[in-house]
């Protein structure tokens, strides 16, 4: 699945989201639960702000010395007998992964959850050379079975589906005959996928955090599928976005503790699996051959810019879980596998403004995202920076917006013009107003009044009212 998902047109995607009552209900309830769990977990620690400070310091330092830590990581992995491939583009990464799959004559590939492999369309590349790729994370599995429905959340990808829909998908595609109880659905997936784990030729995982000092990778999961993928197939490929690294184990403790709390309110998830190289002699299970693919795919464009902090992200989705815009439009409306505030910051950077110029505006700038971010990324400020760049540097605002802004500039620069215009406003708007409210505005006002009424400008301007109030004896009014 490429980074871009769904309909090309932003407004059509948003409308589709707004009209999907079930999805909106599911998102509301999920957001509520996740927000509560995160807040409780943060409170329990007592000094959450210190933890955030530490997380922020670690991420800043690591990204500022990314070249050093990636070098150290690759040396360690190679010393342990693993192979490391640095891929500047998604295509390069896919070619390398295809080459390994071909050499190993891999037919069946079991994969645990990974956003970066979604971003580079790795599954499609492997399917193109005849491999069968099986998603083993329960949420991803549901989406894959449902004709590759795109994910709508980076932690809970099938958040937009209800259990009845999942039951129907399992029934239609896999002859599932039981009820919509989550326990029964999960048990069915366990049995189906167990066979796949045992017979897969190749396992592919993502990477939550690489540890530079020892060449290790931590996978943060709950279901156990990533453990299966890294224990049973004889060859393993781990794909990581190049920024997903920490200097050492001391720092791993901090970012993992922040991630599990911020994402799902757990002290630790069921499994934190730290893998170091291929299996060694005298070990029965684990991969005999290990490949690490480090992916740039647009990330280095962000380094050294005012958006560098976006690379501090640890993919917890706390910002998504508090976002009022996400709550209303859902994940698919963003048109990117990275939705919500972090998606609105990151998607235009990894792709470009042509594709994602609307996303920085899909925010109320309330700042809730910035407040919950466990590594203190100033998300809403980055959205404002995007808006400035889109308008000033890239000149990508619409013609009508530019005309209106130019007109406004002239209007407020001339006292006479301003006075005349503000005096005229009540008369000009009278034909559209009813009981001092405009409910169906003309021209540019249309978009506003589509959602809410616009008050008609008062007959008396503020300046006139201020000057006249003494005459009217309203001195203390």
């Amino acid at each position: 699945m490429p980074m871009h998902i769904g309909e090309k047109d932003f407004k059509k995607r948003v409308t589709k989201g707004l009209e999907d009552d079930f999805m909106r209900g599911a998102v509301r309830s999920a957001q509520g639960r996740l927000q509560d769990k995160r807040a409780t977990a943060a409170d329990e620690l007592g000094d959450w702000e210190d933890w955030r400070t530490l997380g922020s310091e670690i991420r800043s330092h690591t990204i500022e010395h990314l070249d050093y830590y990636l070098h150290q990581l690759s040396e360690k992995v190679a010393e342990l007998g693993g192979h490391v491939f640095f891929a500047e583009t998604g295509e390069e990464a896919n070619e390398y992964i295809q080459k390994v799959a071909t050499e190993k004559e891999a037919k069946k590939i079991a994969k645990s959850k990974s956003m970066v492999t979604e971003e580079i369309s790795m599954n499609e590349a492997l399917e193109a050379i005849g491999c069968e790729v099986i998603e083993t994370d329960l949420g991803e599995y549901i989406l894959q079975i449902d004709d590759h429905d795109p994910p709508s959340h980076i932690v809970a990808p099938a958040l937009h589906k209800n259990k009845e829909q999942i039951r129907d998908v399992f029934h239609e595609k896999l002859d599932y005959l039981k009820s919509e109880k989550p326990e029964e659905l999960a048990l069915f997936a366990r049995e189906k996928l167990r066979e796949e784990f045992l017979s897969a030729d190749l396992g592919i995982t993502g990477c939550n955090f690489a540890v530079a000092e020892s060449g290790s990778f931590a996978l943060v999961t709950n279901e156990g599928n990533a453990r299966m993928v890294s224990a049973l197939p004889k060859t393993q490929i781990t794909v990581m976005g190049m920024e997903r690294i920490v200097p050492g184990w001391e720092e791993l403790d901090i970012v993992v503790s922040l991630l599990t709390r911020a994402a799902v309110g757990q002290k630790l998830t069921s499994y934190i699996t730290a893998l170091t190289g291929p299996k060694q002699l005298e070990e029965a299970d684990g991969p005999e051959e290990f490949h690490l693919v480090i992916v740039d795919n647009g990330r280095s464009k962000i380094l050294g810019t005012e958006f560098q902090e976006a690379l501090h992200c640890i993919r917890c989705a706390a910002c998504i879980n508090v976002c009022p815009v996400y709550r209303h439009v859902g994940g698919h409306a963003y048109g990117s596998i990275y939705p919500g505030p972090i998606g609105a910051v990151l998607s235009p950077l990894l792709s470009d403004y042509d594709e994602y110029k609307e996303l920085p505006y899909a925010s109320s700038l309330c700042g809730a995202c910035t407040e919950v971010c466990p590594v203190k990324i100033p998300l809403h400020e980055q959205l404002i920076m995007h808006r400035r760049k889109i308008v000033e540097d890239e000149k990508k605002s619409t013609l009508s917006e530019r005309v209106v802004m130019r007109g406004f500039e002239q209007l407020v620069n001339s006292a006479n013009l301003y006075r005349t215009a503000t005096k005229m406003a009540p008369f000009l708007t009278t034909p559209f107003a009813k009981n001092q409210l405009i409910t169906k505005g003309p021209g540019p006002l249309k978009h506003w009044t589509h959602a809410r009424d616009f008050p008609q400008p008062a007959n008396e301007r503020f300046r006139d009212w201020f000057e006249n109030r003494q005459k009217r004896g309203e001195k203390n009014a």
């Binding site: 309830s29 999920a30 210190d50 330092h61 990204i63 990314l66 070249d67 990636l70 070098h71 190679a78 007998g81 192979h83 490391v84 491939f85 640095f86 891929a87 500047e88 390398y96 083993t136 949420g139 549901i142 809970a156 209800n162 259990k163 659905l185 999960a186 366990r190 045992l198 000092e213 020892s214 290790s216 709950n222 279901e223 156990g224 599928n225 453990r227 299966m228 224990a231 049973l232 190049m242 050492g248 001391e250 503790s257 002290k267 630790l268 069921s270 499994y271 934190i272 730290a274 170091t276 005298e282 070990e283 029965a284 299970d285 290990f290 480090i294 740039d296 280095s300 380094l303 050294g304």
Partner: protein, 234 residues
């Protein structure tokens, strides 16, 4: 094992270095001393018995059955858990601690298989069919209710993963406050140039998922039930 290949590194890192104005990779980067260390304050001053109480409470959160026993009673406790889980077949790690705790003989008397580090196919096959997997915990984290397994050699990754039920035997002396103490231990090994296990598992209860309507389902791909047995005199 021969050294692995590193491909395309130079151009990739040069590009990064140009963007961030980084220093040459052969000069070591000094890690700064972080301004705060909140991780050191968690459960500060707790003694071993207080940590056991924290662990016991946390087990309720993570859907894990908690037992506390002595070496003399250990086989009885394992039998009790096996009955509770209606299980008979066992797979356990190839680990001298089973013999040291005098339970190897007891296990051999049951329908139990010791993980064979030299036989991948058969070990995985048996572990997949076993109803219970038993391992010792190498480090136990009270705060989160986590057993840390340093999986290498005879300590197969599959033992704590494939069976539907999992039992962790926790020596009281293995209990520490939180993840910080475990990562400090591993970091110290790395500093000294010692090997660390190829797979270090931090296991916190049975597997679970909230992918369906955010409803928690306990038991997905890994174990469905889990029991921790703390042994006071180990």
């Amino acid at each position: 094992m021969p050294k692995g290949n590193i491909i395309n590194r130079d151009s990739f890192l040069t590009n990064i270095r140009e963007k961030i104005g980084g220093i040459a990779a052969d000069k070591p980067v000094e890690k700064p001393s972080w301004s705060v260390k909140p991780q050191k304050k968690v459960l500060e001053g707790y003694d071993q018995d207080q940590l056991i109480s924290v662990l016991r409470e946390q087990c309720k959160e993570i859907h894990t059955d908690f037992y506390q026993t002595t070496l003399a009673e250990l086989t009885g406790t394992i039998t009790e858990v096996m009955e509770e889980y209606e299980s008979e077949s066992i797979v356990y790690s190839d680990d001298p601690r089973f013999d040291n705790a005098n339970i190897e003989e007891y296990l051999q008397g049951l329908n139990a298989f010791k993980w064979d580090r030299n036989d991948r196919e058969n070990s995985i096959k048996v572990a997949e069919r076993a109803e219970v997997g038993i391992t010792f915990s190498d480090i136990t984290l009270a705060e989160s209710g986590t057993v840390v397994l340093l999986n290498d050699k005879g300590q197969g990754r599959s033992v704590s993963l494939l069976p539907a039920n999992y039992i962790a035997i926790i020596p009281k002396t293995s209990i520490v406050k939180r993840m910080t103490q475990a990562t400090d231990y591993i970091h110290a090994k790395v500093e000294k140039g010692e090997d660390i296990a190829s797979c270090i598992n931090f296991i916190t209860g049975p597997s679970n998922s909230a992918d369906i309507e955010m409803n928690l389902v306990v038991g997905v791909h890994g174990p469905i039930r889990a029991a921790y047995i703390v042994v006071d005199d180990l």
